[in-house]
């Protein structure tokens, strides 16, 4: 049994809370948030111990592990404290606003042999996993260009004042740290980490203090190029939609959450993929989970976190190390995009 505490009970915090609470090997020992309207409902109606002070929660509830889903600017301090207390840490993405802080966290976690994971849930989606496998196996030959795009509707109207932390740069708000980091991380996962961000633009569409869209060009050590586009002010999509396209010398793969479309050039075959187009769907590519709330990937990432804590033999995906690599790309985009 893992004694688990949660810091942050907002949109992602509640989601992690429900999924981990349903996990057979988890006991929720505390939920911490500074919004008393949330914690009072959680304690009164759901019967969990709640706190407004995380230090007090650690002292009283003594968790083995913690899930942190708080505004981005608070990640470093909270995660560092938790690791110092000897707790395994699952942190919502992005890891930190400054990559140096992420490296520090990874060092502490490694030295103390603590499980460390960041909530890049796209790595747990069957279609993207299959795409990664195909590329690594050389199914489409040498990849010369990788493209990642994400659209969604978060900020769809001008707002006079910043209403949540997501619309405040000082707290790590903005499309870059919210949407684009998912795309960067997924591109790193499927391909490799770019050696350099060649150019980037950050564009405000409706927001005053932050960017609503991100455009960036990457270079890879192999000589390949990459292009990223993220836009959270796009009302044409019902919910966040992410697509990765890989162009190889012997084919092309276009993947989203539901579908993976593979094209192999004439005469090229790979396993059950013949030349020409072939689609595979999430229905055959996704491994089942024990409890489903909003997508298998959200459950699968928590399952992995718990399995790793319990020392079961599972793959470790999305550690503080890979998330720091993502933060480093984000930092380059932020610096280039300022001009």
């Amino acid at each position: 049994m893992v004694k688990l505490a949660l810091i942050g009970a907002g949109k992602m915090g509640l989601s992690h809370f429900a999924i981990s609470s349903a996990h057979p090997d988890v006991e929720i020992v505390g939920v911490c948030d500074n919004a008393t309207y949330l914690t009072s409902v959680i304690s009164k109606h759901l019967g969990f111990s709640t706190y407004s002070d995380y230090k007090k929660m650690f002292k009283e509830a003594r968790p083995d592990a913690v899930i942190i889903s708080t505004p981005n600017s608070t990640h470093f301090d909270l995660a560092k404290f938790a690791l110092e207390q000897g707790a395994h840490v699952f942190l919502e993405k992005p890891l930190c606003l400054d990559p140096a802080q992420g490296r520090t966290l990874f060092e502490i976690a490694s030295a103390k042999n603590l499980v460390n994971q960041v909530g890049y849930h796209n790595r747990f989606i069957g279609t993207f996993q299959e795409m990664k496998r195909l590329i690594a196996a050389g199914a489409i030959g040498e990849v010369y260009h990788l493209e990642g795009k994400a659209y969604g509707q978060v900020v769809i109207r001008p707002s006079k004042s910043a209403s949540t932390w997501r619309s405040k740069k000082s707290e790590g708000g903005g499309c870059l740290h919210d949407y684009a980091c998912h795309v960067v991380d997924l591109m790193n996962y499927i391909g490799e980490t770019p050696s350099k961000v060649r150019s980037a633009q950050l564009q405000s569409i409706f927001s005053a203090d932050i960017e609503d869209a991100v455009f960036a060009n990457f270079e890879y050590a192999s000589g390949a190029t990459g292009y990223l586009e993220a836009n959270w002010s796009d009302q044409s999509v019902r919910k966040m939609s992410t697509t990765i396209t890989a162009y190889g010398k012997q084919g092309k793969i276009i993947t989203d959450r539901q579908e993976m479309r593979v094209y192999l050039t004439p005469g090229t075959t790979f396993e059950d993929y013949e030349d020409g187009w072939k689609s595979k769907y999430i229905t055959e590519l996704q491994a089942p989970v024990n409890f489903y709330m909003r997508g298998e990937e959200y459950s699968a990432q928590i399952d992995q976190f718990i399995d790793n804590i319990l020392g079961r033999d599972v793959k470790v995906e999305s550690t503080f190390q890979t998330a720091t690599a993502t933060d480093e790309v984000i930092e380059q985009i932020a610096n280039l995009g300022k001009g």
């Binding site: 949109k11 429900a18 019967g47 539901q258 229905t283 055959e284 089942p288 409890f291 709330m293 909003r294």
Partner: protein, 288 residues
């Protein structure tokens, strides 16, 4: 009131397709107005499917208006509303936060309570607030038949995960009191949910879940589902029978119709021939 056996779903109308975003886009172009949706609903109604099981999406209000205005055309038309339309809330929470979202979508009463800062009133009376949210969603269905009102899976499963089981009981009680309707619960965790609903004293609950041959989004696995459904202690509606098209229609429907204890099937289709074909096949297999 009795649960009907063949129900018409709405995913095809609202740009939802679990397999392909292209298909979803094509559908959202075709069904951009209430009239084009109504035409397909007419085909379903005329094929003998009298129930439209639909998300409480804004446009559904327009459909309800048409049905209400034409009682002789649609004497037996029933809606099974499924609430809430979660993306509306989720997108809003991302934009303005949980508290502002509640203000934005709640009726007057909650608004003023929040504005006066009487937060303790809200937290102490969470049930009252949830009732107001139900009422806000049900506004679209005034004057039409809604014998069963469903809680969408993301909410049912959120409550299941948080072990806030009593809220499921509260929902059941409230829709009975206020709308003289039975509560239904959509879930991706059917075996777990049925046990919880029984514990809440809900006998023979109405539940709707993915039931398909390949076990797509069936937590606990196909065998566990088949076994649970066969117990016959819940009225189970099968959805996603074709697993978004991963199973050929005939094979998918034959399998699901052969399940012991299954009460109903909900399916969506856009063409008259598909609707009639599917309905006829179910009728044959179930001797309807």
């Amino acid at each position: 009131m009795s649960l009907q056996r063949v129900l018409f779903g709405d995913n095809q109308f609202f740009g939802v397709n679990h397999m392909s975003e292209d298909k979803a886009r094509a559908q959202s172009m075709r069904f951009r107005d209430a009239q084009s949706i109504m035409k397909v609903l007419d085909d379903a109604y005329d094929a003998g499917i009298k129930v439209f099981m639909c998300t409480t999406y804004d446009r559904v209000g327009e459909i309800a208006e048409i049905v209400k205005a034409n009682p002789t055309r649609y004497p037996d038309f029933e809606f099974y509303p499924c609430m809430p339309y979660a993306h509306k809330y989720a997108n809003s929470v991302g934009e303005v936060g949980i508290l502002e979202t509640l203000k934005r979508f709640s009726p007057q009463g909650v608004m003023s309570t929040l504005l006066t800062g009487a937060m303790s009133a809200i937290t102490q009376d969470v049930n009252k607030m949830l009732r107001m949210l139900v009422d806000a969603e049900m506004k679209r269905f005034e004057g039409v038949k809604t014998p069963i009102i469903f809680l969408q899976n993301v909410i049912t499963d959120l409550i299941l995960g948080l072990k806030g089981y009593k809220f499921l009981g509260e929902f059941h009680k409230y829709v009975k009191e206020k709308y003289n309707a039975e509560a239904g619960f959509i879930t991706m965790n059917l075996p777990l949910l049925i046990d919880v609903l029984h514990e809440q004293g809900i006998e023979n609950p109405i539940v709707c879940a993915n039931v398909n041959k390949i076990g797509f989004r069936m937590c606990g696995g196909v065998d566990k589902y088949v076994e649970t459904i066969a117990r016959n202690d819940a009225r189970v509606i099968a959805m996603s029978v074709l697993a978004s098209g991963a199973i050929p229609p005939k094979e998918a429907i034959e399998w699901v119709c052969g399940l012991e204890g299954l009460d109903s099937i909900v399916f969506g289709a856009s063409s008259k021939s598909n609707i009639v074909q599917t309905k006829t096949l179910i009728d044959e297999l179930w001797n309807l």
